[in-house]
């Protein structure tokens, strides 16, 4: 019981730790946050995995955006015809 209380005071919950992992990528953590996060991830395999997963997700998103940019992306003729019709309607 006491052990659990000390844990709560000294480290983050998994929810908080995973939040800090994302916060870290956006802004600086305070010294206390840094210490609590490293203590938590030292003990928690699932949060360690979360940090890895989060990074992989980011890299995969970047891959996806790059791949999409390299494809030939054209609008259909139908779309263009419809758009031109809308423009003509506006000038009626």
């Amino acid at each position: 019981m006491i052990g659990q209380k000390i844990m709560n005071w000294a480290t983050f919950s998994c929810k908080e730790a995973s939040e800090m992992i994302e916060k870290q990528a956006v802004t600086k953590l305070s010294s206390a946050e840094k210490i609590k996060l490293s203590m938590h991830t030292a003990m928690c395999e699932t949060c360690k995995a979360y940090a890895r997963e989060s990074e992989l997700i980011d890299k995969s998103i970047l891959n996806h955006i790059k791949a999409q940019a390299e494809e030939k992306n054209n609008l259909s003729d139908e779309f263009k015809t419809n758009l031109i019709r809308k423009l003509e309607d506006k000038s009626e």
């Binding site: 919950s13 995973s18 994302e22 916060k23 802004t27 995995a49 997963e53 890299k59 791949a67 423009l87």
Partner: protein, 182 residues
């Protein structure tokens, strides 16, 4: 030909000439075909309405791209500020511990995951299932090509708002991958 008809025919010519380019750009910025189409359409309709602002000082392509960029940023701003999105499920118990422990999520330990087109396709599909607000929050880093501080400024959100959205998005993406990628 009346003046308005002349404008309409000029803008129609621009559709033929520039819409594919604008579409590619919008697609790169939003990673969604449907949204990119909408934004391109809005761009031409705006161009038609405000043609008098086009002084011919820049090329039509530059002018249209500037309109489109404003539309893209407006879209991000509007969507990332939309009210709270209900969370489909909670990922943590009442003490804040993961409900699903490590044994259920081992994909991050697979080798060469990012070279696997199937993995990237699965993730893209998972991205498509995200509420728009969260989808944009994880895209912004790459598509707006700015530092976090500047992104928050552009989108008029706080930094904590920004990383909390990313956290939500990542949790849902993780869950989707846990389920659909083994």
């Amino acid at each position: 030909m009346s003046e308005i008809k002349e404008v309409s025919s000029m803008v129609s010519d621009w559709v033929h000439e520039y819409s594919d380019h604008l579409y590619s750009w919008a697609l790169y910025k939003t990673s969604s075909k449907v949204i990119a189409e909408d934004l391109v359409q809005e761009t031409f309709l705006s161009a038609f309405q405000s043609h008098s602002n086009y002084a011919g000082k820049s090329t039509p392509k530059t002018w249209l791209t500037a309109i489109l960029n404003n539309k893209i940023l407006d879209y991000y701003r509007k969507k990332t500020k939309e009210g709270t999105t209900p969370i489909s499920q909670t990922y943590f118990d009442e003490r804040g511990s993961w409900k699903n422990q490590i044994s259920e999520s081992l994909w991050s330990q697979q080798d060469h995951l990012l070279d696997n087109p199937d993995f990237n396709a699965t993730l893209a599909e998972c991205m498509g299932n995200l509420p728009e607000k969260w989808r944009l929050s994880v895209l912004a880093k790459y598509t707006l090509e700015k530092k976090p501080d500047e992104i928050c400024q552009e989108l008029q959100i706080t930094k904590s708002n920004y990383w909390q959205m990313i956290h939500r998005a990542k949790l849902q993406l993780k869950e989707c991958l846990d389920k659909n990628w083994v």
